[in-house]
Point group: C2
Chain length 345, copies 2
DNA sequence: ATGAAAGCGCTAACAT
DNA sequence: ATGTTAGCGCTTTCAT
């Protein structure tokens, strides 16, 4: 492994010209005579010259790189979002540096800090937990930043954002259950996602109110901090039994993984879905279509969330003005929701 | 968004010292008096100085960055592998640049080329399809490269590699079915994964031979190119009906997604699994545990594949000698495999 | 203990 | 049309 790579200088020597001539020839500068231009290009090819993007960056103060923070790379939801990000980024000639935060503010800050040192051109933060105090610290860095499904309540006025309409999604879920005749509808949520969980809970409550349905506190089950580190399927599995005993006939779950867990618990307990209990998830990740029965769920346009956010970042880089986006989820009716049985007590 | 960031020079001016003093102070050079060292550090803090890794890289010819190519970011298998990669990379202070190849050689080459321009310190290629001719082109670049589950048959002598023992995995799958009493065992494979599909098929055949079981060509179904772009679940779904009519009682599927597709097809056709048909998958991705019944599968240690490969890369960067690794998969017995029914024709 | 100067590989303004 | 020079931000000799 030779340490030094071929540089523009090396080519210049071999060609008997100055390094700037080489630079110009390689960049198709019109001032260079077509003849030498071709010669130099040919030579560069032969010498296996690969331009040094680091040196170019130092000069241009553009790295053509963006940083992306996800909670976990193996998270099927954000994997899909990142897929959307990467597609747009790549076609714009930008590389994606990926880092995982594991829903930990410290790790998130650390990742952002590494991005800054690397002088990324822009940053995309998913499920961000940076609070106001950190914001100040990050504010002066002055790198275009777009938040995707931001989880902090207070500020978004500093950064741009792309979000899903959690209120709407929750209402769609509950309204769907209501339309099937359910009137004892529960919510199975998670404790560690502050904002989205909060919004989905609010949407759930609003929908119940509008439908003139009762709200029983026992019908709302939010996993406590003990489960915060376990995965969502386990949360669903553990929480379902108790929630079911409250007599609910339909449950809106925080997300698909929780719903899958709930579904597994139902099988364990011989609760028939949707005959005994209807389940609605949220996200629309692939796995939701593979379980039995396939999950009725509120779909987020995952690829679009990613590509929209990335497009916003591109616009920001070109100093265009952009507007925050709130995308709408939609109901995908599948097998886990059904009409309320008449004989249900 | 101010264009110019705070530089070491700016701090130097404010501190009334030279920029090299600042550099030394910041790097804890022992020659600097403790007093000014602290003063300068303090000042840097106040001025929100963020060191420019680009400039450092230009000098050190080390970017502390590695490039990773995956087929698709949203692929649950490689997502898990990348998770393992990123964990090790991060704790070693390296950032991960991620790119998707979509199983296309051109895109793979393009990604590698971008990595080279960016002067990544090392490269990790998953499911690589680069053939011998490309290898030459890539050889002179001289960046430590580790292949993960490489798909090209010919060469690996140029690069290091971490692989799963596909032969072993296939044998484990078939032997499991044999041990359950099956003697008409089929293979459901995919057409576009040259090497791993080939190896799993070979392992299947070897295991059958060793068990003195018949090999009927109709029992081997490999999806043709038409399905190459569709996802694996669809492949399983489309291929199963015909394969089932050949009278097999057990099927070893190329991977979990194919097996999930096969399982969905079975439900469609009212084929009971495992009563009428046993199914074995490969990979051990999360979804395999969520379907009904949960999939019996051959597990690959995905996180370990990633972290081992990354560790190899780290060793390579430190000029240590490394050896290729072949990891062993293992059987996870779950619900889709069962004893052969006596009344089966 | 600190400053001055060179140089990493490149681009661009300024000669010629 | 091409060469010379400066400089991006940093580290590292080499002086002092």
């Amino acid at each position: 492994m030779s340490k030094r790579r071929i540089s523009i200088e090396d080519i210049a020597k071999r060609a008997g010209v100055s390094h700037s001539t080489v630079s110009r020839a390689l960049r198709d500068n019109s001032l260079i005579s077509p003849k030498v231009r071709e010669e130099i290009k040919q030579l560069a090819q032969e010498m296996n010259y690969v331009p040094n993007a680091i040196a170019q960056s130092l000069l241009s103060s553009r790295t053509n790189t963006i940083g992306v923070v996800v909670t976990s790379i193996a998270d099927p939801f954000y994997a899909e979002v990142v897929e959307g990000i990467e597609q747009v980024a790549r076609s714009a000639g930008l590389s994606v540096v990926l880092s995982a935060s594991h829903r930990d503010v410290e790790q998130e800050i650390a990742a952002i800090d590494r991005f800054h040192r690397r002088r990324v051109d822009g940053i995309l933060l998913t499920d961000s937990r940076i609070s106001k105090q950190h914001t100040q610290q990050l504010a002066q860095i002055a790198v275009p930043t777009v938040l995707i499904n931001n989880q902090t309540k207070d500020q978004s006025e500093m950064f741009y954002s792309v979000e899903i309409d959690d209120h709407l999604g929750a209402r769609l879920a509950v309204e769907h259950l209501v339309s099937l005749g359910h009137n004892s509808i529960g919510y199975l949520g998670v404790g560690d996602r502050s904002r989205s969980n909060q919004h989905r809970l609010e949407g759930y409550q609003m929908a119940l109110t509008e439908a003139n349905l009762p709200q029983i506190s026992d019908w709302v089950a939010i996993s406590d901090e003990d489960y915060a580190r376990t995965n969502d399927v386990v949360i669903g599995q553990k929480m379902l039994p108790k929630l079911f005993t409250t007599g609910v006939t339909g449950i809106f779950c925080y997300n698909d993984m929780v719903a899958v867990g709930a579904l597994l618990a139902c099988r364990e307990l011989s609760i028939s879905v949707p005959q005994d209990l209807s389940l609605v998830g949220f996200d629309g990740i692939a796995v939701s279509g593979y379980v039995t029965p396939p999950l009725t769920t509120i779909c987020q346009p995952m690829l679009k969330i990613g590509s929209d956010a990335m497009q916003m970042l591109l616009d920001l880089l070109e100093e265009k003005s952009v507007e925050n986006r709130v995308l709408s989820p939609f109901l995908l009716k599948r097998g886990t929701s059904g009409a309320l049985r008449n004989d249900h007590t």
